[in-house]
Symmetry: C2
Subunit: 233 residues, 2 copies
DNA sequence: AGAATGGTTCGGCAACCACCGAACCATTGA
DNA sequence: TCAATGGTTCGGTGGTTGCCGAACCATTCT
């Protein structure tokens, strides 16, 4: 009820290892079935079911029934943002030495991944930086960007569905999202999602199954150079 | 070790009610003694000691011995930011009806409070908005502000120690911090702290003991009108 | 030196809760 | 209609951990 208990309740929910792995998987922005989540969490279906209903109850997750499957997804991008923020904290938690070790362990994840439904990691940052440098997006207000006229043209040229992104209901159009590995913001919101979608549709990138990791294809690397003027390690 | 476990570990630390209330108290940005923290958490000194050492171990808290007292404070503003982010999530957790009830319960906290060491709540937002509207600060990059020339003069006039804030080591100068009750950014960083300090030094505001709540004095209300052109409910 | 205060360590207890086995419901396909 | 698959509910069990009493260390005050 009181604000401190609400804090501890929500934190305690994320504090269980099984639930944390489920949330981590759901950070890819997609909806996953209960059994899939049970598998990645390393628990049986019954146990997973309990966890999932508790998180739905607490409005961390949303459930959608389809056939005999039940799909779960993060309830809102706010939840995704809070998780990223905790991850950022967890990243600074350890001493620099072991931090490097942790990053060595998952260099691909650090290079490119999905954050909810948009691109994050070095690639996400590179895209965002390129758009900023070219004057295609400009900061508007504290947590948003504006798409400039040249940005509109640019998006049209590479095939980003801007009208569709603008149509996306009450959702933010171009939002700043803090990247936990780079510790700098990348572009999110419906425009960020549309850009990521372009990467997947044009074969520039592909999602690895059961993971937030994204692999940049060869044509993707070329596109980063030609369209975004970015060179990646 | 792996990133998901680091997430769950940090979340689990915040997930205990006793630790959560300690962290809430420490959100006022000050250092508090172990017994003070034990009292607000409603546990005995031994229990509190255990909690505190665990949080120091996890780099959430920093400890400083002084005489026979031991003072604990948040280890970094990153920790404060993560807590605010979780609180924001906890705020949206409940249905709108009960959310209002929770806010009714603590209208003063929502009106004005400290967030780490700067002002938050309606007053924090009002100050930030006024500075923006007058062109005293401008967004610089994704999460910072620049103090303009007129802003420099304005600060000097009302007695904000800008040189001192600039001298503040490696700390960010003017940072954007998300306000969990207003869900909009207010000014933090060393400049935000200097502004809050001015409010306290000039008697515009005073901290309520054992709480993050800040009371705006009558002269503070007048100052909000004359210096910031803001009217508060 | 002795007493008082603030803080920590240790050991045992109790409550909580994550977990699984088993049984049960719902949807799909044969 | 009957099996198969996906999911949830229920009950009992075990491990974790938060908690306090008691003893112990450190600092300050008389």
């Amino acid at each position: 009820m009181t604000t401190v208990n609400a804090l501890s309740e929500v934190a305690a929910l994320m504090g269980d290892p099984a639930r944390a792995s489920m949330l981590s998987l759901l950070m890819d922005g997609r909806a996953h079935t209960a059994s899939e989540l049970a598998l990645t969490a390393g628990v049986t279906a019954q146990t997973a079911s309990g966890h999932l209903s508790r998180m739905v109850e607490a409005n961390l997750l949303a459930a959608r029934a389809q056939g005999r499957n039940r799909f779960y997804r993060l309830a809102s991008s706010d939840v995704a943002h809070a998780i990223e923020s905790l991850m950022a904290l967890a990243g600074t938690r350890a001493a620099p030495a072991s931090m490097h070790a942790a990053w060595r362990r998952d260099p691909d994840l650090r290079f490119c991944r999905t954050c909810y439904d948009h691109l994050a990691g070095q690639v996400g940052i590179a895209v965002t930086d390129a758009l900023t440098k070219a004057g295609h997006i400009e900061p508007k207000g504290p947590r948003d960007w504006t798409l400039t006229d040249t940005g509109e043209l640019f998006c049209q040229r590479i095939g980003v569905d801007v009208p569709g992104a603008r149509r996306a209901g009450s959702r933010h159009f171009a939002r700043q999202c803090l990247d936990w590995s780079e510790r700098r913001p990348h572009i999110s919101g419906s425009l960020g999602a549309a850009i990521a979608d372009t990467f997947f549709r044009r074969g520039w990138a592909e999602k690895l199954r059961r993971s937030r990791t994204v692999r940049l294809t060869d044509s993707g690397r070329r596109a980063m150079g030609s369209h975004f003027g970015a060179t990646l390690s």
